[in-house]
Symmetry: C2
Subunit: 415 residues, 2 copies
């Protein structure tokens, strides 16, 4: 009997009416002959409320106590969904994270180590739907641990891998993965399939459909994911190891990602000696600031050059101050900051085999007079840093240039 995990986010669980809607979908899968596990988020807004209470209680809250407080939101929705299913005549029970999910490392941002599948097997084999609060488990010292914001996706995938599920379906408030943000390009198309790697890049650069960690975990566990709408009964997007069927014929680019959460820092007159870049990154890492694009090309050996990199926009002031404190150790002339930048990327498994694609991207941007402030490439992605006010145009022209626009008569798909 096929075994599937269904995961529902906070918007889908916000209130009893929506929980009833979720229960109907779960019932349909159970009646179709599947063994069903459901992983749920807290009601939309509840986790924020709990986090705010923690902040008010103590400026520096103990992550272990933070976990105790914020884990309660999913506990509530898990119980409510189980009783709603029972009320509909579906055998169901909830399991708590501490009964099932062993987690380790950092409280507040824990990692899933193992899922006690025996308890679940017993329930599933007896025809009972298992409802599990996302986002939480029990740490090595026997205390509640949470997996970090958005961790319910990761819970769902970890549990699906742990019980050897055939598939993990992520129900969300979008109905799939699009070629780009439909708010920028109304003719964006929903993808039937996307590879794990493409999804990682699309998620990492702004298509906020799934938590990045959960995609990586599914990829390693070779567990097919499906993203679909919690509210509409339409086909979603499959996230798979290898494209198949119609998608194998698709354009080499899966989509265009846009990310406004960027700020650029350039250090001028930086000494050209081994270890310079590391010296810059060290104070940033110490401050917990992650660096995205890094561009450093020494023009002539021994001569001073420039180093450009990007940081999350909210961390710009903190990054600047961390670097300025190390000015003498790093050795640079000037620090230039710019937070009116954005990143546009083409993403697709075709990029690794076709260098023409990067070239087509650069040509397209140049034709529209859009200047690239920095460029980075990977096996399946090419990203350009551009002025933020050029971002929408850049996404639109690239979407057209790579043949991603939906036929004119199917624009409705993107609504």
């Amino acid at each position: 009997m096929p075994r599937i995990v269904m995961k529902f986010g906070g918007t889908s669980m916000a209130g009893i009416e929506r929980i009833r809607n979720v229960a109907s979908r779960v019932r349909a899968e159970a009646e179709a002959g599947n063994q069903v596990l459901v992983v749920v988020s807290a009601m939309a807004g509840e986790t924020d409320r709990l986090v705010q209470l923690c902040r008010e209680a103590s400026a520096l809250s103990d992550p272990k106590e933070y976990d105790v407080v914020v884990a309660s939101g999913e506990q509530v929705t898990a119980g409510l969904l189980a009783m709603t299913l029972q009320g509909m005549g579906v055998a169901a029970r909830s399991f708590m994270g501490w009964q099932l999910v062993r987690a380790s490392a950092v409280h507040g941002n824990a990692r899933v180590d193992a899922v006690e599948s025996a308890l679940l097997d017993e329930a599933l084999n007896a025809g009972t739907v298992a409802v599990i609060p996302g986002f939480q488990g029990v740490s090595e010292d026997g205390r509640l641990a949470t997996l970090g914001r958005g961790g319910s996706d990761t819970s769902a995938v970890a549990i699906a891998a742990g019980v050897k599920a055939d598939r993990c379906d992520i129900y969300t408030d979008v109905d799939g993965v699009y070629t780009t943000d439909p708010r920028i390009v109304p003719r964006a198309r929903k993808l039937t399939q996307v590879t794990f790697e493409e999804m990682l890049e699309l998620a990492g650069v702004g298509a906020k459909v799934l938590q990045v960690r959960s995609v990586g975990l599914a990829m390693r566990a070779k567990l097919p994911l499906r993203v679909l709408s919690a509210f509409e009964d339409v086909p979603g997007t499959d996230i798979v190891a290898d494209l198949s069927g119609a998608e194998m014929e698709r354009n080499e680019i899966a989509g265009i990602a846009a990310d406004r959460n960027e700020a650029r820092i350039t250090l001028t007159g930086i000494a050209d000696r081994p270890g310079t870049v590391a010296t810059v990154m060290k104070p940033l890492a110490a401050a917990g600031i992650s660096v995205d694009m890094i561009v450093h090309a020494a023009t002539r050996a021994g001569e001073a050059s420039d180093l450009t990199f990007t940081v999350p926009r909210a961390a710009l002031a903190q990054a600047r101050s961390a670097i300025e404190q190390e000015q003498s150790a790093i050795g640079f002339s000037e620090i230039l900051c710019d937070d009116a930048v954005a990143k546009v990327s083409i993403v697709g498994v075709g990029i690794r085999s076709n260098p023409q694609l990067a070239s087509r991207m650069f040509d397209t941007l140049a034709e529209r007079g859009i200047n690239m402030l920095a460029v980075t490439t990977s096996e399946i992605k090419v990203s350009a840093l551009i002025a933020e006010d050029a971002l929408d145009v850049a996404v639109r022209v690239l979407h057209t240039a790579f043949g991603l626009d939906a036929p004119a008569n199917s624009q409705g798909q993107a609504a």
Copy 2:
């Protein structure tokens, strides 16, 4: 080193400012050289909100899932208090009910079987304050179980008994146990001491300070309780096995209890044969209706007589219908119902040794022209059922007649 349990109710935990106030009191006890365990309720209103969600989710909610949902409120306040204490420089950590409290029997109204004190001993001996959510534990099948509404008092006492605490202090929104309801008698006096048995009767008949179960549990464990204000720093009331010191000299009556939650049913022309009362009680028990006062005196052997008893006012209609359905089996002429009745009681350990006290009660009521519809007596209590509109006067005249009025210059105590 003395070991104490401090229990705080929902009003004391309602919001971060109040939790800070609680933390200050906990700090004071810890700094005074006590090992401290704190048992907390959910924020006022939170349990009601969660119960309401369960009702909306399913008319007949599974008690096991109900427990999962409603147990979350205390989890939140336990985490928040632990982090607030840490923020004040007090070593503290929370423990969850499922880590400590083994419960059994009915979900939603479970009984505490055992407390895993080893974990707590370790923390307490290391100088750490232990914060524990009230109202919950883990059942024999490893699932969350709650102890029924008001169960946090019971948790506190069970935990205090389990860790062999020297005392259990119940902080609440009243500052102690009074000789009667100060809203009826402004000159009510706060008692310095009251015995467990007196407290059981006072709690059972309307002085809603402590959950009745918790008092019985403390009595069996010989654990001294103290009731005191969470908001004012004034002495409270000690609940003890035997009176001592000044209280030994006190009037034989501890207090006057008033209870409006009564309705009277009289069955006339009931057959005088063995088992008649049982026949009446059976359908009520089946409907979950508890019966309080029962008065049945056959006037002459073999002749029909009347049976009078009281039920909770809210259950009157249901009780009437349950009995009417059994009219032929029971055999009575008429059923008379009256919900404009109330119960007034004198409570005190002196009653068992002094029959004059009951007599003084009846005289006092008779002098004011208050008719007694029924009377029941126990070792430490005499109760009279009277017309509800005579209740306030009855309480006042009895309070004066038994010498309970505070001296005129100390009325402020009762504020």
